[in-house]
Structure formats: structure tokens, C-alpha cells
Point group: C2
Chain length 222, copies 2
């Protein structure tokens, strides 16, 4: 009682440390999960694999995540956050909308090359069959991060309209179209590595640039 103000202070510190430790452990689990999912995919990774590779018992994993799906979707959010960070860097330049979009595409493509497996997680996590097994809260945070990425596109397009290089149009709608186009192309390429070349016969980088050209052509003032 006498030292209650100290105690409160130290209790606060303790509590903070506890939270930090919890977060650290959660991150360790996610790191192990990332390795396992990257290596063997969602279906063929077991929760025990993940537990083993971070030196915990299976039951412990369930103290941090409600289900295998929740681990997976948490990883997706991490992937989206990484992507968002990269996109923000590219978008911060003082260029016009036009040039920023090319830069964003370059960043996006580079991110894809370095993080193909993350794209697979994003792709599968977006499916209703996975999502139905995940809490609304977790979904919301992933949706918000994806939304932030779209917001960056939105800003770039807005800038282009303001500067007069793009025609008057709904930037949010345009951003969604561009996002869908680029993701659709990547997904198509990701779908089947074996048959890929023979289906399209076009290099991904080339078709991505062409698609942006086409998009900008439609967006520019004639």
C-alpha cells in the first residue's frame, strides 16, 4: 500500500513487457508458419509442423491463434503490410500521377518476384472457403490493409486528374480497375506454372507494362 504508486508503475512496466513477450511469441509462430506454408502450401502444412519448428507444443499455438486458417490469414495481412510499405515508398515521390503509376507497377512487380509465395497466401486467403473459418475482426484488418494499397493508387490517380493529365473520372473506381487488372494478370500467371508459357506466350513483365499503358491510354485526355 505504502509504495502503491511505485507498484502501479512497475506493474505497468510488467504488463507492457508481458504484452511485448506475447507479441514476440506470436511473431515467432508466424515466422515458423511462413516458412512452413511457403514450403508446403496450406493443405500440406500441419499445425504440428509449425509448432515443432518454433519449439512449442501444438496446444500452445492455439493459445495464440484460433485456427490454422487464422494463422494463414494473419500471414496474409503481414504480406499486405509489406506490400503497402513498398508502395508508400514509391508513391511518396513528387512525380505526376502518370509516372507514379509506372513506379508503383515496378515496385509491385518487384515485390511479386521476391514474394511469390506471399501472393499465393493472399490469393488463397481471399477465398470465401478459407474466410468463413476466420473471425470477422481478423478479416477486417486484412481488408483494411488491402484497402490502404488501393488508397495509394487512388491518390496517384487523383493527382493525375488534378494536374490535368488524366480526364475527369472517379479515381476510386479507376484504382479498383487497375488493381483488379494487375492482380488478375498475376493470378493468371501464378495459376499454373507448368502450362503458363504455352497459354499466354507473353512475359509477365511485358504484359503488365502493356496493361498499364492501355489503362493510362484510356485515362488520359485525348
Amino acid at each position: 500500500m505504502t509504495y502503491s504508486h511505485f507498484m502501479n508503475e512497475s506493474q505497468t512496466l510488467k504488463a507492457e513487457r508481458k504484452i511485448k513477450e506475447k507479441t514476440a511469441r506470436r511473431d515467432a509462430i508466424l515466422k515458423a508458419a511462413k516458412d512452413a506454408f511457403f514450403k508446403n502450401g496450406f493443405m500440406e502444412t500441419t499445425v504440428e509442423d509449425i509448432a515443432d519448428s518454433c519449439g512449442l507444443a501444438k496446444g500452445t499455438i492455439y493459445l495464440y491463434f484460433k485456427s490454422k486458417e487464422e494463422i494463414y490469414v494473419s500471414l496474409m495481412t503481414k504480406g499486405l503490410e509489406l506490400l503497402k510499405k513498398e508502395m508508400l515508398k514509391a508513391a511518396s515521390a513528387e512525380y505526376d500521377g502518370d509516372k507514379i503509376l509506372y513506379q508503383l507497377l515496378a515496385i509491385y512487380y518487384k515485390f511479386y518476384l521476391k514474394n511469390r509465395k506471399y501472393f499465393r497466401i493472399i490469393f488463397l486467403s481471399s477465398h470465401p472457403d478459407v474466410r468463413r473459418r476466420v473471425s470477422g475482426e481478423l478479416l477486417k484488418s486484412s481488408v483494411e490493409t488491402a484497402n490502404d494499397c488501393l488508397g495509394i493508387l487512388n491518390d496517384a490517380i487523383k493527382r493525375g486528374i488534378k494536374s490535368g493529365s488524366f480526364k475527369q473520372t472517379d479515381p476510386w473506381q479507376a484504382a479498383n480497375i487497375l488493381w483488379a487488372m494487375v492482380n488478375g494478370l498475376i493470378m493468371k500467371y501464378e495459376t499454373d506454372p507448368i502450362y503458363r508459357e504455352e497459354i499466354v506466350g507473353i512475359k509477365l513483365e511485358k504484359i503488365l507494362i502493356e496493361s498499364l499503358n492501355l489503362f493510362l491510354d484510356g485515362l488520359r485526355i485525348k
Copy 2:
């Protein structure tokens, strides 16, 4: 021996009937599987569910399909074939490329509205984690059907170039871009029904038409 030529004939008939019966049973399984997958999704449908609902034992299912994934991917191929049929109908009109593309989009959207669950199957079946558990042969046939759909777009764009309404461009590449854009948008809408409206705030039909307008704007001769 004496009647060997008759026997051969009747044997051929018998064999044909056998094949027909096999196909019919396979189709019955696929029909039951469709209902089950539509209702409960991939993860929460069991092979026993499928077997029960078409009055067969679980083991019998495995005489017709190598795995649950193969049933699923076979359904995807069926879905793509339906879509292809619809698209062919729309594309057979004697219109110019421009108008055909609008028609194709309308057909595609209508198909989506009537077959949302098929889209989910197509979406999930396209994922490497599902595909890795499916035989190359089966994958090839699904890839070919998807390819045929793209071919229809390709033809329409070619026609537009020939008639002079579209600029000189690689029609195959343009077809892939259009396909990716439309699928990307639908996927985005399919991803999360709960948050959908608040993310995009745009009706799907409207944004699909807008995206085609933008695409055509980029494609048309200025």
C-alpha cells in the same frame, strides 16, 4: 468362333453401353458433388457427403475420381465449359468487335449472377495448393477450356482490328488483359461479401461496364 463377326459387333455395342454407364455415373457423382460444394464449400464437404447424396459408398467414388481435389477440378472444368458455351453464343453474332465485347461482358456478368458458386470453384481450383494434388491430364483439360474462352475474346478483338475500329495491337495480349481485369474485379467482389459495399461503394455491374469502356478507350484509334 463361327459367329465371331456378330460377337465383335455386339461386344462393341456392349462396350459402348458400358462407357455410357460409366459416364452417367461419373456425372451423377459430379452432380451430387456440385450440390455439396455449392452448399458447404470445399473444406467442409466430405467425400462421404457426396457418396451418400448419390446413393453410393465412399469407396465407389474413388473408382471414378482419384481424390476430392480431382472431383473439384472436374467441376471447375464443367463450369468453364458452361461459360464457354454462353460466350460462344454471344460471339456468334455478326457485330463488330466493339459490340461483341459488350455482349460478351453482359453474358459473363449474367453467368456470374446465376453461377456465383461456380466462380468460387474456379477461383479455388486455380490455386497451386489445390492444383498440386491433381493429375496433369485433368489440369490440362481445364486449362484448355479456359483458353478457349480467351480465344473467343481474341477473335472479337481481331475482328475489331480488321474492321479498323481498334488500333493495331497484339489481340492475344489484349484478350488476356481484358480477361484478367474482369476476373480480377469479380474476384474482388467475391472475396468478402460482408465488407464489399463499404470497400468499393460501387455496384459491380457499373464498374464492369466502366472497365470495359476504359479498355476500349485504350484500344480504339484516336
